[in-house]
Subunit: 380 residues, 2 copies
Amino acid sequence: MKWKGEIIGAGMTRFGKFPYQTVSDLAHPAILSALTDADISTRNIQAVYCGSVYLGVAAGQRILRDLGMTGIAIYNIENACSSGSTAFREALIAIEAGVYETVLVLGVEQLSRLGKIVLPLNSDDREVAQGMIMPALYAMRAQRHMFDYGTTIEQLAQVAVKNRRNGSLNSYAQFQTPCTMEEVLHSKPVADPLTLNHCCPTGDGASAVVLTATERARRSSRSSVKVEASVLTSGLYETGFRNMSSAEISIRASKEAYEQAGLGPKDVSLAEVHDAFTIAEILYYEALGFCAPGEGGAFVQSGATAIGGQIPVNPSGGLLARGHPLGATGVAQLVEAYDQLKGRAGDRQVANARVALAHCTGGGISGLDHAACTIHILSN
Amino acid sequence: MKWKGEIIGAGMTRFGKFPYQTVSDLAHPAILSALTDADISTRNIQAVYCGSVYLGVAAGQRILRDLGMTGIAIYNIENACSSGSTAFREALIAIEAGVYETVLVLGVEQLSRLGKIVLPLNSDDREVAQGMIMPALYAMRAQRHMFDYGTTIEQLAQVAVKNRRNGSLNSYAQFQTPCTMEEVLHSKPVADPLTLNHCCPTGDGASAVVLTATERARRSSRSSVKVEASVLTSGLYETGFRNMSSAEISIRASKEAYEQAGLGPKDVSLAEVHDAFTIAEILYYEALGFCAPGEGGAFVQSGATAIGGQIPVNPSGGLLARGHPLGATGVAQLVEAYDQLKGRAGDRQVANARVALAHCTGGGISGLDHAACTIHILSN
């Protein structure tokens, strides 16, 4: 199926640590950049879908007031690391229903004001209470993948090297310097075998896209980006043994997304995936069908997922280099997909980009792979 | 218009202060009660829309896991006091789009674990920073209404007397004892002229409704409740003089809701309105067109809004008696509307109830009446 909403503009600001700015300072340039890109004004926006995790009560309304975007429908949506992409899905559904014609989707977060935190912080959760915070969980996944499939630490590190190289080509990235294999292997230990450079940074930032009804997009001379699939699901509860090297929720979501789009992994020109840790990207190669289970390590080592490779993954630099201000990430992936599909991604442009896949997953809950996973497939 | 979604089941638990329960303890009975009422099982639910304000990351997923409701789409929605009703609107839009056939809407909150707080707590907001917290804001509104229209403190207090009487007939209410005019007038001062009994309590609770596509509802022998209007808007920013005795956002939202439904205030059999303070209910009589501007005080005094009156308002007891666990309130209003329209509201049944209106508004932001307002009009 094709959804009845199309993206006609996208914008974001450089991710990083900006504790002295307000949330509005972060969000306004991203919003105005997306509206300018769509060649519309604030008055054309009928509703705003704001994805964030830690911004408190009525975040969207507080941000939009000073842009004069008042008296409209504003929705605040939270879904852990999938907050921004869930907001996009909600916007898409509303356009599908014909409730709005043109809407803005905003992803925004400011983690630098929260102090030194390890996410997620559901301290009531029994696994979290035992120390199963995200870096520990992914370290276990890495250990298991290495044990089961002979994946090497250098293969894991290659994900960081690749994404940091991509980030050095992206003026929106938090990290714009490449790093070497040696630097990844010898950075500060976090949770064995993961060192600091295997883990995405926390940070602040905002990203925005404008969605409009296909009918309206058709009336415009501007080219738009279509939505071939939108999927949201929550993890299945598994008691007892849990396969740590198989990304249950992402496997299920991608199957549904490909069916919805009538496309397969071979049709994907580029993918933005949720590389919160190097091992995560490898698990998602396999979950998304880019390579067979167990082959993710060799796949990245072969260069297949570099820009210019068979299926470039995270050309933006991904979470590892662009950064991961939770609510902003899902929309930033769509901004990158949009730029790639419009052929305006500059030095990191993927040649002949026709189909882009964006994948977000997050939220640690005992017994689930993750709380929420979204997949969107876009085409030009 | 009629929306393509209909309510086929509703349930809630008694509101109150339950700091020793978990959020799941609060939510599960409400969910199961709504599903039982709809005569369906957890397996029939394709998506859940969870409205809450202070429950942290992935609240819906954490609550639903232990009911085995995993592997489905779960959305967490925040819109201050309108969180639950915004979640309902999102669910309705998704059914309108044909994305799901049957969904659950959950409103849930647990304020008693947060300690002694005054809501809302956006301490960055310049009005809040100067002491314009909700009780202060509504005290100013009361002062202005009394000055402009000669509204009396006894008329304000009559709202509390009426709603506490209604609450005494509602086994879900936090306060199930009536109170006298004398008790309201002489309870602890909060913000002049409002005493404690002019203010809704904080508390904990959960409420749920099941929505299904009209087509599916038609195939069932069970009667359902239709949605005639759904509106969400944010407040208009007003610089300089602000009319404190006119509820800008609610006036605009109700106008849109009546137009959408093709109905007027005279068609409404009963209304659940956002009586966070006694003066608020009086402002909303006027905003919703139940009486002319300035006449709200005399209107409640006349008995017009009591059960058995011309237009019963808050037969459930409203926020003043049923309580106000933020995210749960909007859905609880729909539960009451559903029960009334099904003729099963017991001792507080409104005779010949055909059309019910539910109104939520909240979120304090400088320069806006409120951050978000929802209105839903339902019919049987």
